[in-house]
């Protein structure tokens, strides 16, 4: 346990933690959510069984769909698996590939994954899938300014837009934690995450009701291993967003500061615990608030935008 692990192995461990931990985190959240609703709920490992089942099934593609329809899930998962290389998943120190992209780079990869899935959904010709991708793109256009302002806040706080630098700044003193700009940016990011994971304000992330389907509708025509990849992709996206919130903004503690194996294992346990904690908060919020009507989404996003803009404002007066 006290043996030093080579840096490339730690880098691989970061990706593996996200890749293998994501279905577990989804399973735990589904279980907690079921308990909140007075149900027994599925097993914690159910998402793994679902993925395994889908991977064994045959896959069908709608007539007229091109190679892009089949390539999209693979590209999306590849994009999601690249992001853990850029963000502090397990370590406080930057890993060699951690500097190949900043927060904007991570954002571009998330957008790329979402774009290819939406385009593949458009290719199918299915009205539900097209409705889902049209809605997803419309609403991501209005949440984008919020994300940009959160990035501006990070850039103003740290002088750089590297996620490792913000996590180190937050850890550096208590004054940083209660800094209004930091609190406001974290709250804005949390609201965006609630929206992006299909919880609040209009979606039901597990539902098959047309009105509540945005993310779910896009994978309507995929089947077999391709559907498995899309499901796994949305689980990966959820854990990546939770990791950014926890390890960069809210609780960047419990990360490994050395190359020892024990420290890395502890960091894995801490990350999964933090992700489950964030997930439980999300589940409680999801189950306590009524969903809004579709076009009320602007009100929700304007509130998140307000938080992010105020975060930038407060930084403009002598950096206080």
């Amino acid at each position: 346990v006290s043996a030093a692990v080579p840096i490339p192995v730690i880098q691989v461990l970061q990706v593996l933690t996200i890749a293998l931990g994501a279905p577990w985190v989804t399973g735990v959240i589904a279980r907690v959510e079921a308990r909140l609703q007075g149900r027994r709920g599925p097993r914690v490992l159910q998402p793994y069984y679902d993925l395994a089942k889908l991977l064994r099934k045959e896959s069908l593609a709608p007539q007229g769909a091109s190679w892009f329809f089949l390539a999209a899930p693979v590209v999306a998962v590849a994009a999601y698996l690249t992001i853990p290389l850029l963000i502090p998943v397990l370590t406080t120190y930057g890993l060699p590939l951690g500097y190949m992209g900043d927060i904007l780079g991570g954002g571009f990869l998330l957008s790329l994954a979402s774009f290819v899935v939406a385009t593949a959904a458009l290719e199918t010709g299915s009205p539900y899938a097209q409705l889902g991708s049209s809605r997803a793109k419309t609403f991501s256009a209005i949440t984008e300014p919020v994300v940009l302002f959160v990035v501006f806040t990070v850039a103003l706080l740290t002088g750089t837009d590297l996620p490792y630098a913000l996590a180190a700044t937050v850890r550096s003193s208590a004054g940083q934690v209660i800094r209004p700009a930091h609190l406001l940016a974290s709250a804005a990011l949390f609201m965006v995450i609630l929206h992006e994971t299909g919880r609040i304000p209009v979606e039901t992330h597990t539902g098959t009701n047309e009105f509540g389907m945005i993310e779910e509708a896009r994978s309507f025509e995929h089947s077999g291993p391709y559907l498995a990849l899309l499901r796994w992709g949305s689980e990966l996206k959820q854990l990546i967003l939770f990791t950014i919130l926890a390890n960069v903004f809210v609780v960047p503690w419990g990360l490994a500061s050395t190359q020892r194996l024990g420290a890395a294992l502890l960091a894995i346990a801490a990350l999964l615990a933090k992700a489950v904690a964030v997930g439980c908060v999300v589940a409680v919020i999801d189950n306590s608030f009524a969903k809004l009507r579709l076009f009320k989404i602007t009100e929700y996003v304007s509130a998140a935008f307000l938080l992010a803009v105020l975060g930038v404002f407060t930084l403009y007066l002598g950096g206080r």
């Binding site: 940083q176 209660i178 209004p180 609190l183 304007s302 935008f305 105020l310 407060t314």
Partner: protein, 224 residues
């Protein structure tokens, strides 16, 4: 870019929270929720007074915090609820839907107003460890958002709450800039608020008895 100390950080965070509650009041459709948010905002003023009292060793401010809490967190919301006296579970007519702008547009417009207030107060250049510049500028932003609230909502209740929260913004500014103000003067400010409550109370009563609604859009009929 320097990092603020813990006192300054708390003062700034409380000020930012108060500004967010001001936006909350702007956004809320129901008057009882607005009153709740006003009470929460007033409670934050008392918290800030306690923080400043502890940081700078000013025992007067504890008394002010208690007095302000009793008046603004308990008494004023109670009086407002009785004045607006709709049965529990029902909303006073004329309040919900009194927006002149949609909620999202109102929030965006008030972000503009807040930016104006923020940078106006910020450019005053009051920088000292005792007066956190951000908290003061946030108080300025709150003043403008409170005016915005009174403008975009066409009902007497929201306008009264906007006016009372304006007083909260001024209390915040005075606490940040001149925490050592004599207790007597601070108490005099609170009596201003009492006067405002009485005047608004009479206005609300008079308007409600004439129009059977709290909406001010009916007032156009009074033109000669």
């Amino acid at each position: 870019m320097s990092t603020p100390g813990v006192y300054e950080g708390v003062a700034n965070a409380v000020a930012a929270l108060m500004l967010l509650l001001e936006f909350g009041m702007l956004r809320q459709a129901m008057v009882r929720d607005q009153v709740r948010l006003y009470a929460a905002q007033s409670a934050l003023i008392s918290v800030l007074a306690v923080v400043i009292a502890a940081d700078r060793n000013l025992p007067d401010l504890y008394a002010l915090a208690a007095l302000s809490g009793a008046l603004k967190v308990v008494a004023v919301p109670l009086v407002l609820r009785r004045l607006l006296g709709a049965p529990i579970g029902e909303e006073t007519p004329g309040v919900a839907g009194s927006y002149t702008l949609g909620p999202a547009s109102a929030v965006l417009a008030c972000i503009g107003l807040a930016a104006f207030g923020f940078f106006c107060f910020g450019s005053l250049g009051i920088h000292s460890p005792e007066a956190p510049a951000t908290a003061l500028a946030t108080a300025g932003a709150m003043v403008f958002v409170a005016f915005g609230l009174m403008i975009v909502r066409r009902d007497v209740a929201s306008q009264a709450i906007g006016f009372f929260s304006l007083e909260n913004a001024i209390s915040l500014a005075s606490l940040v800039v001149a925490a050592g103000l004599p207790l007597l003067l601070e108490t005099a400010f609170l009596f201003d608020l009492l006067l405002a409550v009485v005047v608004f109370g009479m206005l609300i009563r008079a308007h409600h008895s004439r129009a059977a609604s709290l909406s001010t859009s009916d007032l156009t009929k009074l033109r000669g």
